[in-house]
Amino acid sequence: MKIRIKFGKYGDMKFIGHLDVMRYFQKVMRRAEVDICYTAGFSPHQVMSFAAPLGVGLTSDGEYLDIEVNSAGSSEEMVRRMNQAGAEEIPVKSFRQLPDDAKNAMSLVAAADYLVSFRPGHEPEIRDFGKALEEFFAQEQIIILKKTKKSETEQDIRPMIYRLELRQEGIFMQVATGSAANLKPELVMEAFYRFLGLEAGQFDWMVHRLEVYADTGEEQRKLVALEDLGHEL
């Protein structure tokens, strides 16, 4: 049976990289005695895949991994068991069953919401911040220079920004995520700073991921949070 697990990543855990989070969950499965399926062969692996790796330094409300299990208790029980076996700053939030023919989270990821706030002491001095952000977003094109090892190419990132607005807690943005198109929130912020004529420092922002979505629309984009593709057990 296919299961999708939603978890958060907070506090000190932001310093733990993606590969270590994977290894962490493999151990949580064993500590919580989740009846997870193993691959066949001489060194069996847990059937487990992650939706969208989160970079070191970022926190999140909405991270996802998919697993396959032979059996499971109720969603409530499984969340409780995993949280008892896990670290406080990586809480499991939901444990839901997916349809048997469901595609894995990684292939479905289409967009993500982020909240960007300023690291204390790194706030820019801009008078009408909200208006500047609106003007930035109202542009038809936002060209950035994309540096690769060999060359620099120009790229228009505007089509990959779906929403951008100022909120009480910080700058909210919804951007393309996943294998088809992927935009890092830091790139949006760098472009915005350039638009403002500001120099961006390496540690100016704190990036927090809020949610990760699949696109279930045919022609029009219709984003659904990954956990909503499953149902409670």
Partner: protein, 621 residues
Amino acid sequence: MRKLALSDEILLSVEKPARYLGNEINAAAKDKSEAAVSVAMCFPDVYEIGMSHLGIQILYDMFNQWEDTCCDRVYSPWVDLDAVMRREKIPLFAVESQEPVKSFDFLAITLQYEMCYTNILQVLDLSGIPLEAAERGEEDPIVIGGGPCAYNPEPIAEFFDLFYMGEGETQYRRLLDLYLENKKNGGSRLDFLELAAQVPGIYVPAFYEPEYHEDGTLAAFRPVNPHAPEKVRKEIVLEMSDTYYPKKPLVPFIRVTQDRVVLEIQRGCIRGCRFCQAGMVYRPVRERSLEFLKNQAKEMLKSTGQDEISLSSLSSSDYSCLEELVNFLIEEFHGKGINISLPSLRIDAFSLDVMSKVQDVRKSSLTFAPEAGTQRLRDVINKGLTEDVILNGAAMAFEGGWNRVKLYFMLGQPTETVEDMEGIAVLSNEIAKKYYEMPKEKRNGKVQVTASSSFFVPKPFTPFQWAPMCTREEFLNRARIVNAKFKEQRNWKSMRYTWHEADVTVLEGVLARGDRRVGKVIRRAYEKGCIYDAWGEQFNNEKWLEAFEECGISIEFYTTREREPDELFPWDFIDVGVTKEFLKREWRNALEGKTTPNCRMRCSGCGAMSFGGGVCIENQN
């Protein structure tokens, strides 16, 4: 959320920030402010190495079981953070509480290898604790050293307030109680050290003074404080199945060097290889019971979620219930995503059978440690492994599908001749030959024989503690002789030969058999910027050579010098059970090429029986 000792900016700028966060799964997370006594347990190397060490896990668990004690951990900051902390004057902190090391009552440093000595100074320096015990005040933590290198503490004696000789499970409670009592009575640091000096196993260096002959050798080593005993006897655990052992070992967030559950099946070794310090100082062999180990294995795997369990001992094949234990582990855990790792097994029918069950034969290699290339030299070092046993083991392994063999040798052992050196290549070739003697259809491609040589460093409390060590040039010369012989071998294309660094070996030789005078060289090298000497890319031989030069200390005095049988050694005041008379007898036997049977075959009267436990009495009940 905890307040971290390092800012986000620093943590995001250094390699692997998780090294400095603590709060791993199963961390004790005790409130230091509520504990009567606090211990900062330090492994003076990078986190991934320190977290792989079983001894610290045992002691950490033991200390934190005590209600009045808070034990936290400290590791050497890697060189990137080291530079930041010096620049920004950030004091070194313990990882769980994130509080400065200096705020702890004790700083306990484990001494696992000589090449970590400059890192001890790094830890003290970054903590803001004076490097030398004599400079410390009432507010500084009591700095304790323990572990294998404590068996010759003299080169680092002046950096420590006290050393704990032997196994930590037995006397720490008493030591902490004395500390608390002394504090309650308003006693001073000196008062505590005088109390501590009377605890079995405790050595307070400040209470002893060496005197030297004109030729530089030790003339006398005497206590100069009435509370200090003449001899310090090592402590050992006698009841190995009713003692401290963590049921919930720490589980790091990042991958560490030994990332698995470790089951220590016994302490000590019956073999008596004459170069091996562990084989002497951990005597007598004491086994843990099968029941104890079965329960520990189950509980530790459950509480950690680790996917691998490894047996730990100096020679697992000598554990008397090995077969039952291994069969239990296989039945209980194999096929459930748990790997079973069986290091230090002798290659024989039994071990090949279990290894074929627990590992992928095609992907794994077999390891032999003949240590010497000829039978003559193997007899000198008392390595009870014959050529027949090696070749038969290899042949059986090849039949079983293995085609990769690793061989470990040591160059520069006493009495070594060119024939012994060349024997390394010859023996390696014989092993490769065994493979090609198998019918073609049974072979699985080419065989791969990888031989490597380390260079021999004579260690205290071994029969070879009298042996002169080779110079750097001599080591390299011998390696070249072996290498040339490899090229002459018929199967040279299936073989690879490598050897260790010679510079660092020479330095290890000085530190291993050094006396108190070597301490100033270590300090000088540290002041010149040496840290992480155990890491090839960090090791700076030039700076060390300058430090010796500037301190007027001769390397050769400690390495290549021939020692008289009755020379007084800096470590002779320590009583490890094994007597100097026995070691001397073994040294003579070595030079005559006479072997000594292992402890189970016949007692050779080494002296360890005085502890009244383990293998020495197991057949008397």
